[in-house]
């Protein structure tokens, strides 16, 4: 047991020894809810973003429409509009209020309705829907960043909206927004600390109880500050590496039958000259 005259580092060493496993468990919980929340939030955002890009169903030719077609069109339009409005409300509400407030409102609100949530479940639930609201906007930006010509090319070969999205647009949109998605993960590692208000056993909550035991607030919070920093720095390094891996090289080297492909190129260049000559003439 350190005495009152023990140095700062003496206390840090002591607290690490005594509460090391506690901090580790807290770190594990923080990573768990941040990662699960980011992944689930991403899926929510993806769904919302896709629905928000569906074009209003249009009539092909109003003059030749039957009554049934007109009614079904009206129903589909109203439904889509209603869903899109709901999604806008969701995004506005969750981006427009602090997560700490969302946490207490949802957690105690559920109790009010007679539902007593497990704190870990509540934590993941809250982070997921909070992240979903941000992801929806991020992913929509990613979709918009894919040039319109590719949508048209996909439609022109007969793909449906869903096929176009899943095979052409989203893979590129997701690559483009990967830095923002990684950033959301890092934000979640840090901001999950606010969930201590509903007693989720994440890193900050564990630190609070450790700090109270010996009244060593600065030492304990200094330790977890270091842990948070190590976590966020490592994650951003890993993500940068993944992005580099995904991009691959900028140049293409022809492999396979070298002589053949050379021959082909030479032929095509000659043809081209000839062709250009004849068309210019």
């Amino acid at each position: 047991m350190p005495t009152a005259s023990t140095s700062f580092f003496g206390w840090v060493a002591f607290l690490l020894q005594k509460y090391g496993t506690l901090f580790l468990r807290g770190t594990g919980m923080t990573l768990l809810i941040a990662l699960t929340g980011t992944v689930l939030g991403f899926l929510i955002g993806l769904l919302v973003a896709i629905v928000r890009t569906i074009a209003m169903p249009r009539s092909r030719d109003p003059r030749r429409q039957s009554r049934a077609e007109r009614v079904s069109l009206a129903v589909r339009r109203t439904l889509l509009r209603a869903v899109q409005i709901l999604m806008n409300v969701y995004i506005q509400v969750f981006r427009g209020t602090p997560m700490i407030v969302q946490a207490v409102v949802i957690y105690y609100g559920a109790q009010y309705a007679g539902i007593y949530m497990d704190t870990t479940f509540a934590a993941i639930f809250i982070i997921s829907i909070n992240t979903g609201a941000y992801m929806a906007e991020i992913i929509r930006g990613g979709i918009v960043s894919v040039d319109k010509g590719q949508f048209e090319a996909a439609h022109a070969i007969g793909m449906t909206h869903w096929q176009t999205m899943t095979t052409v647009v989203l893979p590129q949109a997701i690559r483009n927004i990967l830095p923002s998605v990684g950033n959301e993960f890092i934000v979640n590692i840090k901001d999950s600390s606010v969930l201590n208000v509903i007693s989720v056993s994440e890193l900050f909550f564990q630190a609070k109880s450790a700090a109270g035991a010996y009244y060593r607030y600065f030492e304990v919070y200094f330790i977890i500050a270091c842990i948070y920093l190590v976590l966020t720095l490592s994650v951003s390094r890993i993500l940068a590496w993944v992005e580099r891996k995904m991009d691959g090289p900028d140049n293409y080297v022809i492999h396979g039958s070298q002589s053949d492909s050379r021959a082909e190129i030479v032929v095509s260049v000659e043809n081209e000259k000839e062709a250009t000559k004849s068309w210019k003439a």
Binding site: R60, Q150, A153, A156, I157, P171, Y252, V267, E272, K273
Partner: protein
């Protein structure tokens, strides 16, 4: 001669701007039809209406005599039968060259991967891009991209291909390689509708030349007729501005 695509009284406006004001013409089977006309005359809009990238306001688009606007034609099937090549290539950036030519066959025509790849390679060989099967679009030159885009359209085994200024975004030295591929296609009897500013190409390859002006077809006929003996003042002025 049978009309594969027949346009009747096609109208299209963007807001109050009437871009197509009653277009009538027929694309015959096995013929290359070149559409010429000054910028803003509605050439792209016409092709985009035929491909339903735009919804026409009035008129008919008949495909083998059936109105595709009536709702009785299967759209995915129609799109598979009518290919399109764009000015800006519009290759799928997340796929390599082979993937670009395979995706539509598998998703829309439900062909097996082996069959799709074999077919894709056949057409990539045809456009001289076989050596680049695993290249990404951003690794290719403009002319190479456009040749892949043509192979992508061909891989769907379409009956008609629409070309919207396929060489306008290319550096001059790459125009030839693309026109050459298109010329081959025309000679083999592919039905083609080509919006182009390459008068030399139109003269050498087209069976019919259509001159559009201000949303209507002003003159049409054989290349010799339209390009050498223009009847209207507007076409004469347009041709003069080109040479």
């Amino acid at each position: 001669m049978e009309g594969v695509i027949e346009i009747r009284g096609l109208h299209k406006a963007f807001g109050s701007h009437e871009v197509l004001r009653g277009v009538d013409f027929t694309a015959n089977e096995g013929e290359a039809t070149c559409i010429i006309g000054s910028s803003g005359s509605g050439k792209s809009t016409l092709l985009r209406c035929i491909n339903l990238l735009e919804t026409p306001d009035a008129g008919q688009i008949l495909y083998h005599g059936e109105d595709i606007l009536s709702g009785h034609v299967n759209m995915a099937q129609y799109h598979a039968r009518v290919g399109m090549v764009f000015q800006q290539f519009n290759l799928f950036g997340n796929m390599d060259v082979l993937g670009n030519c395979v995706a539509g066959q598998m998703k829309v025509l439900h062909r097996s991967r082996e069959e799709s790849e074999e077919n894709a390679r056949k057409y990539l060989r045809k456009v001289g891009m076989e050596a680049y099967v695993s290249a990404k679009p951003r690794q290719l030159s403009g002319g190479q991209k456009q040749r892949v885009a043509i192979a992508r359209a061909l891989a769907m085994d379409p009956e008609v291909i629409l070309f919207d200024e396929p060489t306008s975004a290319l550096d001059p030295e790459m125009v030839g390689e693309v026109l050459l591929v298109m010329q081959d296609l025309a000679r083999e009897g592919m039905t083609m509708l080509v919006v182009t500013h390459e008068m030399g190409f139109a003269r050498a390859v087209a069976s019919k030349v259509v001159f559009m002006d201000q949303g209507v077809i002003c003159e049409q006929g054989s290349p010799a007729q339209v390009l050498e003996h223009p009847e209207t003042e507007r076409l004469r002025a347009f041709l003069q501005s080109r040479f």
